[in-house]
Each structure stands twice: as C-alpha cells, then as structure tokens.
C-alpha cells in the first residue's frame, strides 16, 4: 500500500514537472514557429513581387534575393526589441486593463541607466579590462533595477489614486507621466556629462559574425550578425522563459493571474492586490529596462525621446499578439519586427527609390495596428472577449 502510494506520488511529481516544463517551453516553440512562418511568408511575398518587377529590370530579383537573409536577421533583432518592451505593456494590461503609456519611457530610462553605468565604468578605467559578459550583466542588473523601481513608483504616484476613476482619467495621467519622464531625464542628462545624445560605451565585443557571403555581380553581399545582436536575442529569450516560469509555475504567478482574472475575488482569497499590481509594474518595468539597456548597447547612443516610437510600436505588437497574453506579446513583436524590416528594405528597392522605406516603416506599423484592431481585435493568440456591462 505504502509503496503504491509512493509510486503514484512520484508519478504525480513527475507529471507536474513535465507540465511545468511544457508550460515554460511551449511558448518558445510557438515563437520559433512564428519566426519561421513570418520569414517564409514575407520572403515569398518579396520573391513574387520581385519576379513581377524583374520583367522591367532583371537586377531587382538578384538584389532582392541577395539581401533577403540580412533583412531577416535585422527583422529578428527588431522583433525581439519590440517583443521585450511589449511584455511590459501586456502584463500591466492583463492585470489592470490599462495602457501604461509611460512604458516607452521606462525603456528609455533603462537605456540611459545603462549608458550611465558604462560611463562610470569607463571613468574608473574598468571598461576595457572587464570581460564582456560581466559588463552586460552589470549594466542589465542596474538598468533593470532602476527601471523596475521607477515603474513601481509611477504606478504608486500617478495611477493608484485613479484606479476607480473613469477609464480615460488614468490614461491621461499616464500620458502626462510619459511627458514628465522624458523631460526629467532630459534635464538630468543635459546637466550631467552624458549629454542629450548620450554615448553608450561598451567593451570590445569583437567583429560581427560572418554567416555567409552572397555574390552579386562583382560585389559580395555579406550576411552578418553582430555579437551585440546575438546577446540581445539570447537575453530576450531567457527573459521570456523566466517570465513564463514565474507567471505559470509559481505561487506568485498564480496570484498575478488571479488578480488579472478578477481583482475583487482575488482580494477575497487573501491576495494582496496592491502588492501584486506593484509587482506587475516592477516586472514589466524591469523587462522594459533590460530592453533599453540592450537596445542602447546595440545602437551605441541613447536620447531622452528615444522611447516614444518603440513604445508605440511595442504596444502595437502587444495588440497584434493579443493584449494580456505573454507569448502573444513576443509573437506580435517578432511579426511586427519582420514586417518593418521588410518594408524598410524593400519599399525603396521596389519603387525605384521613389518612397524611402525607412520612413514608411512607421506608417506600415500603424496601418497594421489599425487593420488588426478592425479585423481581429483579440490579436493573433488572444481569446475573444466580450465587453462586460
């Protein structure tokens, strides 16, 4: 009897571990599926369009195919950027049904803190001697802490007093918070040695990895990915896994999900709702801050207004994936990133330079937002909800 019970207990234990593993790693599979899917679909579209255009100009087809791999890599980097920011939007939305407009600025603050850390390390002469992994970890930890705490503070100051007000009231407050953060950071940055356009110093990460080289006429078009981009992608994936574990496999995550489902009932079950909401902001802010650090490291400079447009696009990504859904936010970010990279690279090629792709990429992103909201407001992975009366 006892042995039997033990066996079933072990079984149960094993089943539970498997279950956990599945909930943690399944999103990764979905993500990879979507990466491959959007790459294939967009690649095919490019090839088809290039085929029709190549009747008038045979070189278009060659060029289009030669730059394709590089565009895909760029799209992936861009996608992971939107994805990590979108996680913060989606978590807060899931819990409070509220668009944290200031989240783009939390991302920007992360970037600035990273740049500040790098600047200090350089002043102390440690930057060139530090191994790159240590540098990345220090910058990330400091950036995530500051951004997370800042997000928590904004919630405490500007959103919590308005929690039971009509919907638009906290949203307006959040817009105000976004503007305040932009200018406060600008004030601090311009009166510190960093300046408005702060350089993000990094140790030497080495040369870009050369993946392939595609011959095109006399030239060869290299396909390469910089080590910083690889760090970005790996870090983003690790964060997704950690977040998934936290939300789906821990007591804390259960509490978060309970609050998201029904705040009043959750509080009756003994969950400290205010604490959980604070924690949600902390986690979302920390993720946004990490994205800021990684983005700043990638680009090389940060400025106080850099958070706005990525923030907006990350929100688009969150809506695209189904707002409130963590995997959805990642997937939405990836799809949007790919789309933007494709528009940015191919629009001017296909129109013979008449439209500059880089500036129309923004328009493409917002058009996607509008289309999604009209035809599938619940997003790619979201469940359809009806409005409660």
């Amino acid at each position: 009897m006892v042995a039997e019970a033990n066996v079933s207990k072990q079984d149960l234990q094993r089943q539970r571990t498997l279950q956990t593993l599945r909930t943690v790693f399944m999103p990764l599979g979905q993500l990879i599926l979507f990466i491959i899917g959007s790459a294939v679909v967009l690649g095919l579209i490019v090839v088809v369009v290039a085929f029709f255009l190549s009747r008038s100009d045979p070189k278009i087809m060659q060029t289009a195919i030669a730059i394709l791999p590089q565009v895909m890599i760029d799209g992936m980097v861009r996608g992971f950027l939107f994805a990590t920011i979108a996680l913060g939007y989606t978590m807060v939305y899931g819990v409070l049904e509220f668009i944290n407009f200031a989240h783009g600025e939390i991302f920007m603050v992360g970037g600035f803190v990273g740049a500040g850390v790098a600047y200090l390390l350089m002043q102390w002469g440690l930057l060139s001697t530090l191994p790159w992994l240590v540098f990345v970890v220090i910058a990330l930890v400091v950036g995530m802490t500051v951004s997370g705490l800042l997000a928590m503070a904004t919630e405490r100051v500007a959103y919590r007093p308005l929690r039971n007000s009509p919907r638009l009231v906290p949203l307006i407050s959040a817009i105000g918070m976004s503007l305040v953060l932009q200018d406060v950071v600008r004030l601090i940055a311009t009166s510190s040695p960093l300046g408005f356009n702060a350089r993000f110093e990094t140790p030497n990460f080495g040369k870009p990895f050369q993946i392939a080289s595609i011959p095109l006429g006399e030239r060869a078009i290299p396909v390469q990915i910089s080590p910083k981009a690889v760090i970005f992608i790996v870090a983003a994936l690790l964060m997704l896994l950690a977040l998934n574990y936290l939300v789906n496999a821990t007591r804390l995550g259960k509490a978060i999900r309970a609050v998201a489902q029904d705040r009043a009932t959750a509080s009756l079950m003994g969950i400290n709702v205010n604490q959980i909401i604070s924690l949600t902001f902390l986690i979302g802010g920390a993720l946004g801050g990490a994205a800021g650090v990684l983005f700043g490291m990638n680009i090389g400079t940060v400025n106080p207004y850099m958070g706005f447009i990525p923030g907006l696009k990350a929100f688009t990504a969150a809506v695209l994936g189904g707002i409130g859904n963590i995997t959805g936010a990642m997937v939405g970010g990836i799809v949007l990133g790919f789309l933007e990279a494709f528009v940015a690279s191919y629009l001017s090629l296909f129109t013979g330079g008449a439209f500059s792709g880089a500036s129309y990429a923004d328009i493409a992103a917002f058009s996607i937002l509008i289309l999604i909201l009209i035809f599938r407001p619940e997003g790619l992975l979201g469940e359809s909800t009806t409005q409660k009366v």
């Binding site: 949203l171 328009i363 909201l373």
Partner: protein
C-alpha cells in the same frame, strides 16, 4: 467631520466677497472699474515688460470675470465688446506682440473647443487631433502657392480672394478626414482609440515630411513658405478714418478679428450642439455606451458626427493659421501640439465650453508669455550667482509642464477649473468617504 455636499455655497470670506462683487451695484462698479483701469494701464504702458504682461493677463481674465458675474446681459456684452473689440485691437497697434498672443489664444480656443466635442462631449480620447489642423493648413498652403503646380501640372495658385471659400473647404475636408479616421476605429474601446488616433496623427506628420517624392506635394521637411494672405478690403476705410497703419499691423488686426469671429461662431455652434438631441446623445455615449445603445441612440452615426464636427473646426482653423503664419512645416503639427490642446481641454474642464476657452487662454499665455518670462528671471538669477543648472531653460520644458499639469489635474481636480455640473457628479461618485475633502 462635517460632510459637505458639493453644491452648497461655502461661506468663506472669499466666497462672500465673490458673491458681493459679482452682482448688484457693486458688481457693475467693480467690472467697469476693472475694465477702465486695466485698459488705461495697457494703453499707457505699451512696451513689452513684466508689468504689461501682468496687466495683460489681468485684462484677459476680465472676460472670465464678466462671464462669471451676475449682471445684466446687455452690460456684459457691452463690456466684452469694448474690451475685445476696441481696447485690445487699439493696444495691438501700439504693441504687435500682445495682439499676436491674443490671436494665438483664440486659435487654440477654437481648437480646444473642437477637441472638446470629441473628448469632452462624446468621451472619445483623440490624441491625433492636430492632424486635422495640419490637413487644413496644408490645404490652403498647397493651393495658394506654386506647390499646386507640382501636383496638377499647369495649375496656378488660386487668388487671395479664394481664402474665404477655402475656410469652408477646410471645414469640409477636415470633417471628411474626421469621418475617415472615425470609420475604422469606431468599434474600439476608449484606450485603444487613443493609441490609434495617436498613430493617425503620426502618420499624417510622416506623410507631410515624406510627400516631397515622387511628386513634390508638401515640400517635405522644408515646409511651404510665402503662403497667400487674404486681401485687406477694409484698409481704405480705416485710412479714411485717420488710422495710418502699415500692412503688418493691418494684417495683425485683421487676423485678430477673424479669429475672434471664428471663436464666437464656434462657441455658438458648439453650445447649440451640446444642448441639442445630438449633444445629449453624445453625453449618453460618454457615460455608458451600452446603455446608450439600449436607448436607441445610433452609436456609429453619433460617434462619427463627433469626430467630423471636432475635425472640421480644426480644418477651418488650419486654413486661417497657415495664412496668418505665412509659413508651415511638419514640426508645427507634432504630437506635442495635440497634447497641448488636450491639456487645455483638461485644465479648463472637459465638456464645459467656457472652461475650455479659459484653459486655452491660460495654456497659451503660459506657453508663449509666462514661460519665456520665467526663463528671463532665471537667467538673471543665474547671472546673480544663484545655483541654477546651465542647461535649464523653462521654455524648452513644455513637455514637463504639460505632463505635470495632466497628472496633477487628473489626481486632484479631474473635472477641470470650470467644471461642467454633470461631469463633476460623474467624477465624484465615489467621494462618499467623509475623510476626503470636497474639492469644489
């Protein structure tokens, strides 16, 4: 602690004074003296200085005092006509700076009233409102300059006299754009709508920057200059009356009066709309969409109408603005402009027309008069050796100002300075906690 219902008049010293000053013989004397003294001070001190600034602000607040007072309507109108119709334009001939401030305040008052229709009446948060303004401004700029030749080959700019027709066209085109934005986003809930309208505003701005290729329509980031102004039909009459003014002064006074007329028309239209069937339908939608549908309100049509009405005011104002400024470029129509119009509406009091006008005047004054003045004071303080950061220039920190304004208003007085009664009730539904101090 005594529980004060929000509507009983309080009995503080200020309120007693207020009540005594605003009605009866005291009210008439006070208002007349106020008008006389501020007008006299303005006209005798026409040079731009801190003192004149303060008098000017007091002078503009006179309009508010007239509005709030309880004297005979005829007396109110007479005072307002004297102040706005004679004193201010005459003062404008002495110092063009102040009449420009007044004109800008009027432009923003119209925009704020238009946005108020969308945000205040119908409860749809529109963060891309300035896009409609841009549409109107670009419309007149393109048609009145050589840009039109790029778009339609062989076309020549329309004459200056077409200006008045183009105000109407701007109105219509603005309304059409409002419907165009409204149609796809109508099914969205409030906060999604805010983001989509913001995206729409950005799209219009990006288009304005980028539509110089393949066909040069907007002249890109350089903007369009030498925009046509309407003919000065009244100049000979003024000359005959003995006013010797140069062209610039004439135009300033002309645009001042034009904006004043547009503000009055807008006020009339908007307040009539508010108390109409349509306005009540908007209120119903704002307060509870589902209940509004259940009452048989055609939701789509009403929301579209709110968008169209709000946008059309902006479109018409855009035409006037372009012609007043002579030059427009895409940064004039960035998000910050939308936000500043929104903060005017919020500051003054969502849904309340006098409140919104007050908000527009206050924010405009703050923006182009008070902030530069503070900057000057800070600069002299810095020269005197006070520790003020080198890079701190208050005129460059509008975002901070608007942001703080929005947060503080939302937390402490979400109904605005001059609240609308219904909204005050709506926002203070939860205030039955006796510990909370009533804000009204």
């Amino acid at each position: 602690m005594a529980k004060n219902p929000p509507h009983t008049p309080e009995t503080g010293l200020w309120n007693q004074l207020n009540a005594w000053m605003t009605k009866g013989p005291a009210g008439y004397t006070f208002l007349s003296l106020y008008t006389l003294i501020t007008s006299a001070l303005l006209i005798t001190n026409p040079r731009t200085s801190l003192f004149t600034d303060i008098v000017f602000v007091l002078f503009l607040l006179l309009i508010l005092a007239i509005y709030r007072s309880r004297v005979a309507l005829g007396f109110k109108i007479a005072l307002a006509v004297v102040a706005l119709g004679f004193v201010l334009p005459y003062f404008g001939t002495l110092n063009p700076y102040y009449i420009d401030v007044a004109t800008q305040a009027g432009i923003f008052a119209t925009l704020a009233m238009g946005l108020n229709v969308v945000v205040g009446f119908a409860g749809l948060l529109d963060l891309g409102y300035v896009a409609f303004y841009a549409v109107g401004a670009y419309l007149w700029s393109i048609f009145s300059t050589d840009q039109i030749g790029n778009m339609i080959s062989g076309a020549t700019p329309v004459g200056a006299g077409w200006f008045y027709l183009f105000i109407i066209i701007g109105l219509v085109v603005g309304g059409v754009f409002g419907v165009m934005l409204g149609l796809p986003v109508l099914r969205l809930r409030g906060d999604y709508l805010a983001i989509v309208t913001l995206g729409f505003g950005e799209v219009i701005r990006v288009l304005a920057v980028n539509l110089d290729k393949p066909v040069n329509i907007t002249n890109g980031a350089q903007g369009i200059k030498d925009i046509e102004r309407p003919p000065l039909f009244f100049a000979p009459a003024l000359k005959a009356l003995g006013f010797n003014l140069d062209n610039n002064q004439l135009y300033q006074i002309f645009f001042y009066f034009m904006v004043l007329v547009v503000v009055l028309i807008t006020m009339l239209v908007v307040s009539r709309l508010k108390n109409s069937r349509i306005g009540r339908a908007w209120t119903a939608i704002r307060e509870d969409e589902t209940a509004a549908i259940a009452q048989g309100i055609p939701l789509v049509r009403m929301k579209l109408m709110a968008f169209a009405v709000g946008a059309s005011f902006a479109g018409a104002m855009g035409v006037i603005f372009a012609s007043k400024q002579l030059f427009i470029n895409p940064p004039t129509f960035d998000l910050l402009r939308s936000i500043s119009i929104l903060s005017m509406v919020i500051l003054g009091g969502l849904g309340n027309i006098p409140g919104v006008i007050l908000g527009a005047v206050l924010v405009t004054l703050l923006n182009i008069q008070i902030l530069p003045r503070i900057a000057e004071v800070l600069r002299s303080a810095k020269d005197a050796g006070l520790p003020i950061p080198q890079s701190f220039d208050p005129t460059q920190y509008q975002r901070l100002l608007f942001g703080l304004l929005m947060i503080l208003m939302m937390i402490f007085r979400p109904e605005g300075i001059l609240p609308e009664d219904r909204r005050r009730q709506e926002l203070h539904d939860h205030d039955d906690d006796p510990v909370e101090v009533s804000t009204s």
